[in-house]
Every structure is written in structure tokens, then in C-alpha cells.
């Protein structure tokens, strides 16, 4: 079986083609945030090089976020279009889980994704491997002091902002971004347990709703 995995949640986009559990090829979307131009071309290149057509793909995996809203929508929109005619299963994979897979560590890991200003989106997997899921955090003294007490392994592109604003001997994994192949860890679990997304209603994990005050004009 062939699987297509797509990572578009951050500036370093990538696509992987797996045959069962073997990554046949991973290709990167060169140039920051060029996903809209490069995603379809990248997929076509992969399919052509491995002499596959769309019907040979058993499932498509995408990054579910958190991450760039536009990037997530590019991946999700393309995947919905690709999967719809052939009823190909769509599997959404958590970006923080992918980061954990990249660090090869699933205990006491804090994955934080830059969400502008002093905000980060992230997930903390504690010493026992338990998590409260993805959350939106504001980096302030109270929160960071709590984190310092536990001194977790850090991953994600929010780490630089944390270390710059709150100097501390942090345990930095040096992993800033997950690649598409890092989605496979969660992807294959969901594939085996048939946890597929509904193409007609799926939306990424934006973490936060659109919130605006009603117009007063």
C-alpha cells in the first residue's frame, strides 16, 4: 500500500511517499511559504517518479496543526480535492505529535509553535506520557516558571522565542520543525484503527476560533 503524507503547517513544507512503513522518498517544498505553488507539483513529481497514479494511493495524511492557518488550509484543501473522487481516506496528524516523533521522545516533552507576539500553540507530554492536548499559551513569568520547574525537552519553532525572553538552562532538542515523514508515527496508528476524517466536514485544529468584536460603526 502507498501512502502520501503532506506537511504544510509551517514554512518548511514537505511531502513523503510511503510504501507500507518504508519511506520511499521525501521531497521538500523549497522556499518559505511557497506551498500553494509547490504542493501539487511536488506530489505530481513523486507520483511520476514512482510510476503511480492517484488510485494507487491508499490514504493521504496531512498535518492537522497547530500551525500556520494558511499553510494548514493549503494542505487540507488540496487533500480534500485529491481524496474526494476516489474516496481515498484522509488522516489528520497532530503537528505536536509529529514534533515529538522528530525528537524521538514522548515523555516530558514540550512542543511549542510560534503564534506571533508572546503567544505559542503547543502540547506538553508529561513524565508519564500524558497530555492535556494542544493549547494556546501566552508566555509570561507564571507559566514559564512552572515549565522551568519541570524542565522539559523543548521542540518547535516557538523555542527560540522562549529562550530569548526567558533565559534558563533549557533542554533544547534543537528540533524546530517536523517533516512530513514525522507524521507517519500517528498516521499509521490511525490507519490501522481506521480513524479517518470526514472530507465533507473536516477542518484543521486552529486551536483558537476567529474572535472579533461586532462592528460599532
Amino acid at each position: 500500500m502507498f501512502f502520501l503524507l503532506i506537511e504544510t503547517s509551517h514554512s518548511k513544507g514537505s511531502i513523503s511517499l510511503f510504501e507500507d512503513s518504508v519511506c520511499l522518498e521525501e521531497t521538500f517544498l523549497e522556499g518559505d511559504f511557497k506551498h500553494a505553488e509547490l504542493l501539487a507539483v511536488g506530489v505530481q513529481g513523486l507520483l511520476n517518479r514512482h510510476e503511480l497514479d492517484a488510485e494507487k494511493i491508499s490514504a493521504v495524511g496531512i498535518s492537522d496543526g497547530p500551525g500556520s492557518y494558511t499553510g494548514l488550509r493549503i494542505g487540507a484543501s488540496w487533500a480534500k480535492g485529491f481524496c474526494l473522487p476516489t474516496s481515498t481516506p484522509l488522516i489528520a496528524c497532530s503537528e505536536t505529535k509529529a514534533l515529538m516523533a522528530a525528537t524521538q521522545n514522548h515523555q516530558n516533552v514540550l512542543c511549542i509553535i510560534d503564534a506571533r507576539r508572546m503567544e505559542v500553540f503547543g502540547e506538553w507530554m508529561d513524565e508519564n506520557g500524558n497530555s492535556n492536548g494542544t493549547q494556546a499559551w501566552i508566555l509570561d513569568e507564571t507559566l514559564v516558571t512552572e515549565w522551568q520547574k519541570k524542565n522539559p525537552n523543548l521542540a518547535g519553532d516557538g523555542v527560540d522565542k522562549l529562550m530569548e525572553n526567558f533565559p534558563f538552562p533549557w533542554k533544547d532538542s534543537l528540533i524546530r520543525y517536523a517533516d512530513s515523514r514525522h507524521l507517519f508515527h500517528e498516521f499509521i496508528q490511525k490507519w490501522e484503527s481506521k480513524q479517518f476524517e470526514n472530507i465533507f466536514s473536516y477542518e484543521p485544529n486552529y486551536v483558537k476560533p476567529v474572535f472579533l468584536a461586532p462592528s460599532k460603526k
Binding site: F82, L84, P85, V210, L212
Partner: protein
């Protein structure tokens, strides 16, 4: 024999349509009403809604058309102009679909599609014709030589006519989108009650921002009870001025081009007094007048599928590497 699926997502309407053997056989539009409470389209909210709506809308259009996926000859989508986030959703979905089905992709200019909506149903204008396109985002006079050869003769220097309707409706306190509300309010008003200046823009260019400022300043000088007593007359006067601006430029373009056929396109062409003035002008100038059915005037995928067919038969396809373009040139 050809079957084209059209996808439109340039603003706040998610739409899909199927063009089959020379006619539109389905045209599904889902409008996002969530923007009403904010008084305008919020791009992030619109983008999220497009992603939620797009697969069900496309499937519904295919089902209504009685089409199988394998019947499709090409996928046409709105490449631009419009809002970047919404355009990306439609564009990427179209690419995925075209790749999955291994069929050509056709990128359509939204403004040209408004004009080509005249080719959907009879009576259709012969080429060449002069088209006045009036929508929430654009106001253009276009000389249409063929389905793929068009020249912009004039356009707005600032706000679009539809935008002017909406903004001035907002000044009167009407809900979004204000254009239809303003027309309804104006039904019982006297269009000659208040006089506003017609802008002296060069050539065939339009301008509406001065009128908006004039209306705003006028209102600021009035007493608190002014609108409760004069709302209908005031709305009728504003509407009369906007229509007058449009008709004066259209008439000038008709003289310059010696057009025998004129066409009205875009969402604002649903405005009753504008349609009436357009038809009277055509009659006075001994021209044929064309206005598409209402469902093909507002943003809809029927016009995208129709325009897509014209490009497809001319062999004009979109590369997979192309991207949506919010400022796509005409």
C-alpha cells in the same frame, strides 16, 4: 461533448457548477451569513468557511448535474482577483481534484467570468459588445471582442460601485450588505430630494469615494432627527447619483466605441433602478441590451464553468505550479 466543473471562492460565497454540452446543469451557491454581524467580510472567517463548505458544495453540484467524476473534461477555478485566503481554498481544492482525475486545470479571471456569464443563456450578445461590470469589488467598462479578447476601457480609481452602495448604506445605519437594503429603502423616496456632485473623472474612469465623503459630511451637519424623517428620500438620492455616474460613463463609452450591443454584469446589476436606466439608455441609443439572469449576476460558479469552457476549448490551461492571485490583472 464537454463537461466542465467550475469552482468559485473569491470572497464569501462558496460555489460549484457543472457546464455540460453548452449549458449550465447545476449551480450551487452557499453564502456565508456570518459576516453580517461584523459589517464586512472577515478574510480568516471566510477562509475557514470555504474549507468547510467546498467538498459538500462540489459534491452537490455533481449530484444535481447527474455527473460521474469520470465525465469531467476539466476543472475550472477562480484564480483571482479576490481575497487571498478564500482563493487559495478553491484553487488548491481544484488542483487536488484535477490531479486525482488526471484532467486539465483551467484558471479563470473572476472579472472576465462576470462578462462571460452573458454566454450562459439566451439571448446572448454577438461579439463585439460593450460591458459595464459593477460589483462589490470592481467597476469596469470593457470592450469584449471575443470570449478571450477583452480590453478594459475604464475602471474605478477608488471604491467600486457596490462598495459605495454598501458604505453609504452603513452611514444610514442599514445592515450589511447594504446595497439591497438601500434599494428597498429608496423605493418610497424621491431621488431628486438631495443633490450630490457627479465626479469629473478623466475619460472613462469612475470615482465613488468623493460621493461617500460628501454624504458623510452632509449627514454630520444634519440634526439628530434627520434620518428618521428623510431616510427614504436620502437613500433614493444616493442611489440616483450612483446610477447617474455609471450611466454617464457608459453613454460616453457607447459613443466612443460606437457599440451596437451593451451588457450589464456583476452583483450590482441586480439593482432595479440601475437595470431600468441601463435599458432606457440602450433604447435611447438604439442598442441591444443584455443582462444575465440574477443567479449569474452575483458571485457564482456557473460563470466560472462557462468561462472555463471558453478557455478549455481555446487550449488555455493552468499549470499545477500556478498560484491564486488576489490582484490578478485583467
Amino acid at each position: 461533448m464537454s463537461t466542465i466543473l467550475g469552482i468559485e471562492s473569491s470572497c464569501d460565497d462558496t460555489s460549484a457548477a457543472v457546464w455540460k454540452d453548452g449549458k449550465i446543469v447545476s449551480n450551487v451557491v452557499v453564502s456565508q451569513e456570518i459576516h453580517q454581524k461584523w459589517g464586512g467580510v472577515i478574510p480568516e472567517a471566510a477562509s475557514r468557511n470555504h474549507l468547510q463548505n467546498i467538498a459538500p458544495v462540489v459534491k452537490e453540484a455533481m449530484d444535481q448535474a447527474g455527473c460521474e467524476w469520470t465525465d469531467l473534461s476539466a476543472i475550472a477555478f477562480t484564480k483571482g482577483p479576490g481575497l487571498m485566503g478564500p482563493l487559495l481554498v478553491g484553487g488548491q481544492f481544484a488542483k487536488g481534484l484535477a490531479q486525482s482525475l488526471n484532467i486539465p486545470l483551467v484558471g479563470v479571471n473572476h472579472m472576465k467570468a462576470h462578462i462571460l456569464a452573458h454566454l450562459i443563456e439566451d439571448p446572448k450578445p454577438d461579439f463585439p459588445f460593450l460591458c459595464l461590470t459593477v460589483s462589490g469589488g470592481h467597476t469596469q467598462l470593457v470592450w469584449v471582442r471575443s470570449s478571450v479578447e477583452m480590453d478594459v476601457l475604464g475602471e474605478t480609481l477608488d471604491d467600486a460601485a457596490g462598495e459605495a452602495f454598501d458604505k453609504m448604506a452603513k452611514l444610514i445605519g442599514l445592515p450589511y450588505p447594504g446595497g439591497p437594503h438601500l434599494q428597498k429603502l429608496a423605493e418610497n423616496g424621491n431621488p431628486k430630494s438631495f443633490s450630490f456632485t457627479i465626479p469629473q473623472t478623466p475619460g472613462l474612469q469612475f470615482s465613488f469615494s468623493g460621493l461617500k465623503t460628501q454624504v458623510m459630511v452632509f449627514l454630520q451637519k444634519q440634526g439628530p432627527g434627520f434620518l428618521s424623517e428623510n431616510a427614504a428620500d436620502f437613500a433614493a438620492s444616493i442611489q440616483f447619483t450612483i446610477v447617474e455616474i455609471l450611466m454617464r460613463k457608459l453613454k460616453k463609452a457607447m459613443v466612443e466605441t460606437q457599440a451596437k450591443r451593451i451588457a450589464l454584469a456583476g452583483g450590482v446589476s441586480a439593482n432595479g433602478p440601475l437595470r431600468l436606466a441601463f435599458q432606457e439608455l440602450a433604447k435611447h441609443q438604439h442598442c441591444e441590451a443584455y443582462i444575465p439572469a440574477f443567479q449569474y449576476c452575483t458571485d457564482n460558479a456557473g460563470m466560472i464553468a462557462c468561462a472555463g469552457f471558453e478557455l478549455w476549448k481555446s487550449g488555455i490551461f493552468e499549470d499545477l505550479s500556478s498560484s491564486s492571485d488576489p490582484r490578478l490583472k485583467f
